[in-house]
Symmetry: C2
Subunit: 418 residues, 2 copies
């Protein structure tokens, strides 16, 4: 198989389909989403049997247990996919909104219209449910999509793709509006991320290795975040009760998520008072602490934090703790080590809260709230394709709006420039 | 000189200065702009003598007359730079605006704050006045800037840079907030566009060759447009008077600008009526027409338009003319040949105007208005650093807002996620 030629064909089909999707009505796109939900519901047997093949192959190829778990399409996961499609159908359509229409001195009327991006490439790893999630958000926002899932999920993804294709056609949209790459050849990824003429943006979903590779090699813009090295800073003017509650929640509510706190910063003025209380609660939750010298003066017996610890995204019950010289010390530490994902200050002091909000340059900055809130659903976006720590285009949780662009629209009445 | 080490030093200084600029008040940034305006006014002799050196060198190196003209800092151009600084100072500050603050069911309050991008790299050719224009827009929007002008303008740019540095320092800002690259070694550009750790975005200003080279080699996002192949489509339901007025203005008001019409599309239903009227007006203005077969059936004696003509950005008194099969024919032609800069439909028909607005995927789409309006000043942005035909981040004329990003801000009161 000529992978390059195959990918160009997908690209051309997607580019053509994107025009049809972009001008389709909200009702038509919703109809395609709801039809796909029904088709998935009617195709549970086909989905299970395709998934069974992937699981068998995975076991034969020695895939580890965690990977097999992610690969499995349980009935509950199929329910979730179906529910997700219906939820996305019920969200407001971002496309076509016109804002800021004003008259200019020349007499023309100028505003901005929200428009789809065009063709979105999604590259992901083992979970087949991402196929439905990503495709539904891209379709709802008026885009065509090319999806490249993990090779271990190829049969499951193809079975899901068949439902999507039938759903699209039943609503009068081209089936090429959502295409799942049918080859497991890794060269397909290389082609997908270097076709700016056919693909407008790439959204990778997966581990840091995958995302780094894609960002390095792409010739197409990438919406991504690499790391979530999130900080909570407990200021000397913090309410200790709120500080304990938020710090413990930010670390322990879930360990494996990108918005989990990985480093706790404590103002030197209250370190001796609050660190023992924090240590007790973290000990109860089984969280290992690693501290700077000054932390270890208060909390004897914990391990020394090294340079690596300040940079670490543990995704595990481990927490780096550092005593800092007030707000400036906290902001300096964050400027140096943060991955610009999410940081929170705990304080009752108005001026310090305001400075933290202004001076910390992360995609989410919080006051007296757990970093775990950094999430598309919690922010009211209705859904989330990912979180961006880049500054251009989308930043923070990316929902439907992040999958769109804007264009200027101008109304005249024969106006000319003089 | 070790160019790589020198550029890293500039990058590190810019990154550090960006923090200071980002947290500086509106008043301080305006003060720096106004002080620079006064300093330029006081330094007319130094500017003239530095510019004289560049002009002498240029003549000695055989620079062509048009280039020497662009290079020259006449008293009027110095006036314009000074006036520009004062205008930018008077514009509203985009930084810090918080929008969309709403309470979520969890009790947290979520909104978005507009923030500077960080460090902006500007690469431009001969005109030294770009140094002031670009630096002032970047500074106003809270960013640090590294500017790399053409080597032929090095003395003029250094003289301007000295005024900027003194203006910054007089307002209490670091002089490294605006840095003009002092080496003419071309390797400096290569370094500047491949330092994502120090530079957040590149804005190239110059010819297509320069911009293509930068886009191809950059490892940093680039805000750019390559071409302005702009179209006017005269629909069969057009008011002929408006059609003539707009088409002539779009082509002839200025020939060398990116928003000038390069191809005129005419609905077949009115081609026989309107083409002779158009041809007469264009002949009076000295515009050469090149037409498709059907155009040449009406306008005998004009040259045949080739595939190259549909792709051409003439920037000259030449116009390609094509007769198309109604709105669909026009939209198809535009989808194939447009550079996605600016397109305009002339029609009195509501449904066709609406379809053109929705289905044409360009950074500006107009109804009954001249493409020449696609401009930051005309759109009310106050100023313009360039026009973007990309879909991500800024699209269309880019003013101060296009030089900023947003971050999510979250207010809680000890809120945790459950």
């Amino acid at each position: 198989m000529d992978v390059a030629a195959y990918m160009v064909e997908l690209g051309q089909q997607a580019r053509a389909a994107a025009r049809d999707v972009a001008r389709s009505s909200t009702a038509v796109r919703n109809q395609a989403l709801l039809a796909t939900a029904d088709l998935l519901d009617d195709s549970r047997e086909e989905l299970a049997s395709a998934n069974h093949k992937d699981l068998e192959n995975g076991r034969a190829n020695g895939l580890e247990e965690a990977m097999l778990d992610r690969l499995e399409l349980t009935p509950a996961r199929i329910d979730t996919m179906i529910e997700g499609l219906r939820q996305v159908a019920s969200l407001p359509d971002p496309v076509g909104e016109i804002t800021g229409m004003t008259y200019r001195p020349s007499g023309i009327q100028v505003g901005k219209m929200r428009v789809p991006l065009g063709v979105i490439g999604i590259i992901y790893e083992s979970r087949p449910n991402v196929t439905v999630e990503a495709a539904s958000l891209c379709l709802k926002s008026g885009n065509a999509t090319i999806l490249r899932g993990g090779s271990e999920a190829i049969h499951s993804n193809q079975a899901i793709a068949a439902c999507l294709a039938r759903g699209l056609v039943s609503a009068g949209l081209p089936e090429t509006a959502v295409q799942v790459v049918s080859t497991t050849d890794r060269a397909a990824v290389g082609e997908l991320i270097t076709m700016p003429e056919y693909v407008d943006v790439i959204v990778p979903r997966g581990g840091k290795g995958l995302i780094e590779r894609i960002s390095r090699d792409a010739r197409v813009p990438v919406i991504k975040h690499l790391d979530g090295v999130c900080h909570v800073y407990i200021d000397s003017h913090a309410d200790p009760e709120k500080a304990l509650k938020v710090a413990v929640n930010a670390k322990t509510q879930r360990y494996g998520t990108c918005n989990t706190m990985e480093t706790l910063l404590v103002d030197e003025e209250i370190a001796a008072d609050i660190l023992p209380l924090l240590a007790q609660q973290f000990a109860e939750k089984g969280v290992e602490l690693r501290g700077c010298d000054r932390t270890r003066q208060v909390l004897e017996g914990i391990d020394q934090a090294t340079e690596q610890d300040w940079q670490a995204e543990y995704l595990a019950p481990i927490l780096a703790v550092r005593v800092v010289e007030g707000l400036d010390g906290a902001i300096d530490h964050i400027a140096r080590y943060s991955s610009q994902h999410t940081e929170s200050i705990i304080t009752e002091n108005y001026t310090r809260a305001r400075r933290f909000l202004t001076e910390v340059d992360s995609s989410s900055v919080m006051v007296n709230a757990s970093t775990r809130f950094a999430d598309g659903f919690e922010y009211g976006l209705g859904a989330e394709i990912g979180i961006s720590t880049d500054k251009l285009h989308a930043r923070g949780p990316v929902g439907l709006e992040g999958l769109t662009s804007q264009k200027y629209v101008v109304f005249g009445d024969g106006h000319i420039r003089t």
